[in-house]
């Protein structure tokens, strides 16, 4: 038993040293895990279009893991203490769909659908509501005047308005009184080659109902799945070409 342990320990140490040596030989100061697709000083391009795929057959009624992960990551939900429930922020919410004829119940997360032609951008009088080159729809809170036209224009009710003074925001996710906000597709994570917090939480809990990736890359998992199984848009009749797609609706 102890011999086995010794062997294991020896092997582990050897592997650790080998890994360190490999990391050093590639380039001094550069480790394998830091390799990034886009350097921090380069702008996003339209070669990439970020999207999300939600498999509603795997999304369970009552499960709220994606919503709580978003709250923790971006710091909303618990901070608006003075706002009424109707005023409080909702970047992502769980929606229950019931077929009245058959009684079949489905549950799915609904958030900003990151449209290719976003109505919120069309109506914004200041240019604060905007779409990045890589398809992520954001609010530039520096120039948002809080008119809330975008909230009325959005067919998904994806945006919220902050009614009260906030403190202790996350340094990577500024949010404050008098501005509109919504799902950013965790842009701070995406810019560092990460995945949105909701997708990460869904996978970590083993539900595997959410996929994130590049819709323009035919070899990405999300594109392959969409090609094979198809994916529906909510309110496809509006022709918005949403970045968030659903399966099994």
């Amino acid at each position: 038993m102890s011999e086995q342990q010794d062997t294991d320990l020896h092997r582990r140490r050897f592997l650790g040293q080998a890994a360190a040596a490999a990391g050093l030989t590639i380039a001094p100061g550069v480790m394998l895990y830091q390799v990034s697709a886009r350097p921090a000083d380069q702008a996003v391009t339209s070669q990439v279009r970020w999207g999300m795929l939600i498999d509603t057959s795997k999304c369970e009624t009552g499960c709220n893991d994606c919503v709580s992960a978003c709250k923790t990551e971006n710091g909303w939900g618990t901070t608006e203490t003075k706002s009424s429930p109707r005023q409080q922020a909702q970047w992502i919410r769980k929606v229950k769909l019931t077929d009245k004829q058959t009684g079949h119940v489905q549950s799915l997360p609904l958030m900003c659908q990151h449209c290719e032609t976003p109505p919120c951008v069309d109506v914004c009088p200041t240019g604060a509501s905007m779409k990045r080159e890589d398809g992520i729809v954001l609010v530039d809170k520096h120039i948002c005047i809080g008119c809330r036209y975008c909230m009325m224009a959005c067919p998904y009710k994806a945006r919220s308005f902050i009614h009260e003074e906030l403190h202790d925001q996350k340094p990577y996710m500024p949010r404050g009184i008098g501005t509109v906000e919504s799902c950013t597709l965790c842009v701070h994570r995406v810019d560092k080659d990460g995945t949105p917090a909701c997708v990460e939480a869904c996978n970590a809990e083993g539900h595997k109902a959410m996929y994130f990736g590049d819709l323009n890359d035919p070899n990405s998992e999300i594109s392959r799945r969409l090609k094979q199984y198809g994916g529906e848009q909510i309110r496809a009749d509006l022709g918005l070409n949403t970045g968030v797609r659903y399966q099994g609706l």
């Binding site: 350097p39 921090a40 000083d41 380069q42 954001l138 520096h142 340094p171 949010r175 008098g178």
Partner: protein, 139 residues
């Protein structure tokens, strides 16, 4: 009475007046001038003179680059300013933006320039141990 030439008597009077005026000023100067807390590290991302005059330009430029174009260099990012300049003290206490101890507030109160940044942005660092590289333009 000692006779003094006119110009000399004027000079003496002027000296007396300036002495009376200067005394309270020197004692007040310490209270009037901002006490800027020392940041982490040896020097800032730009020379002090440039930073004093142009930090708002850097921040304005950086904010547009970051929000609209996804450029996340750390050299002129407000988050990085906060990380170094509002580091927690030995006892773990961090200055909040409403108080004179905050490095932005200490100057801006004296200059009577209101800063809106912290209505949305965090006024204290998330990671107290963090210090970013001065020379690297990217992380």
């Amino acid at each position: 009475m000692v006779f003094l030439p006119r110009y000399l008597s004027k000079l003496v009077a002027l000296l007396g007046v300036s002495l009376v005026l200067a005394l309270p000023l020197t004692s007040l100067a310490g209270d009037l001038l901002p006490s800027i807390p020392k940041g982490k590290g040896e020097q800032c991302v730009e020379p002090t003179e440039i930073m004093r005059r142009n930090h708002m330009e850097f921040l304005l430029h950086q904010r547009d680059d970051t929000v609209h174009r996804g450029i996340r260099t750390t050299q002129h990012s407000l988050k990085e300013c906060i990380e170094c300049h509002n580091a927690p003290a030995q006892d773990g206490k961090v200055a909040r933006v409403g108080t004179a101890d905050h490095f932005c507030n200490s100057c801006h109160t004296v200059a009577a320039v209101n800063v809106d940044c912290f209505e949305c942005h965090a006024d204290k660092p998330e990671n107290a141990q963090y210090r970013h590289a001065l020379k690297g333009k990217t992380e």
